[in-house]
Amino acid sequence: SQTIHQWPATLVQPVGSPLSLECTVEGTSNPNLYWYRQAAGRGLQLLFYSVGIGQISSEVPQNLSASRPQDRQFILSSKKLLLSDSGFYLCAWSVRLAGEQFFGPGTRLTVL
C-alpha cells in the first residue's frame, strides 16, 4: 500500500531563516506531487506541483521554491522566511493530475 511522509511535524523558525520541508511517498512510482498551504483551518492553496523528476510548476509567486530530486521526494524551501509564510503545509500525491489526491500529515510552520 502507498504511504506518504512529511517532516518535521511542527517547526518554529525566526523571520529571515531558511526553510526545508520534505515529503516522501512509498509504494507507487512516478506520482504527481503537490505542496499546499492552508491558513486557519480553511481552504487549500496550491503552491507547487510536479509531474516528474526536476519538473516543477508554480501556482503562486512567492517566497518559496520546490524541488523534486528523486521520483518520490518533494522538497519545499525558502532562503528567507517571512511572517506571512506561517501556516499548515500539506504534501499530496496522485496518479492523475485531476484525480484523487492523498495527503500527508502536514507540517505546522510558525514564523516569529
Binding site: 481552504g43 493530475l97 485531476a98 484523487e100
Partner: protein, 112 residues
C-alpha cells in the same frame, strides 16, 4: 477561473441531527471528490463521484453529484461527534492538464 463555492462555511449542530452541505460551481467537472480533515491532520478522501446524478452512500453519509456535474451535496444522517471536521469538495477537469479545484470547506461541529 473555475471556482467551487461551499456552504455553509460553518455549521454547529447537536448529536443526532441531520445536515446537508453544498458545493456549487458555474463550471462543469469531470469528477468531484469529498474530503474530511480533522484538526492538525491532512485531508482524507471520502468519495469520488463521476456521473451526473450519481448518488453514493458511505454509512450515514450520502453524496450526490448534480445532473449537470456542476454541483454536489453531502448529507449526514444522525450526526455524531466523530463527524466533526472540515469537509472539502474538490473538482477535477479531466484530461492530462489541470489540477483539482478545492472549495474553502465547511467546518462542522457536532456537539454531544
Amino acid at each position: 477561473t473555475q471556482l467551487l463555492e461551499q456552504s455553509p462555511q460553518f455549521l454547529s449542530i447537536q448529536e443526532g441531527e441531520n445536515l446537508t452541505v453544498y458545493c456549487n460551481s458555474s463550471s462543469v467537472f469531470s469528477s468531484l471528490q469529498w474530503y474530511r480533515q480533522e484538526p492538525g491532520e491532512g485531508p482524507v478522501l471520502l468519495v469520488t463521484v463521476v456521473t451526473g446524478g450519481e448518488v453514493k452512500k458511505l454509512k450515514r453519509l450520502t453524496f450526490q453529484f448534480g445532473d449537470a456535474r456542476k454541483d454536489s451535496s453531502l448529507h449526514i444522517t444522525a450526526a455524531q461527534p466523530g463527524d466533526t471536521g472540515l469537509y472539502l469538495c474538490a473538482g477535477g477537469v479531466g484530461g492530462s492538464q489541470g489540477n483539482l479545484i478545492f472549495g474553502k470547506g465547511t467546518k462542522l461541529s457536532v456537539k454531544p
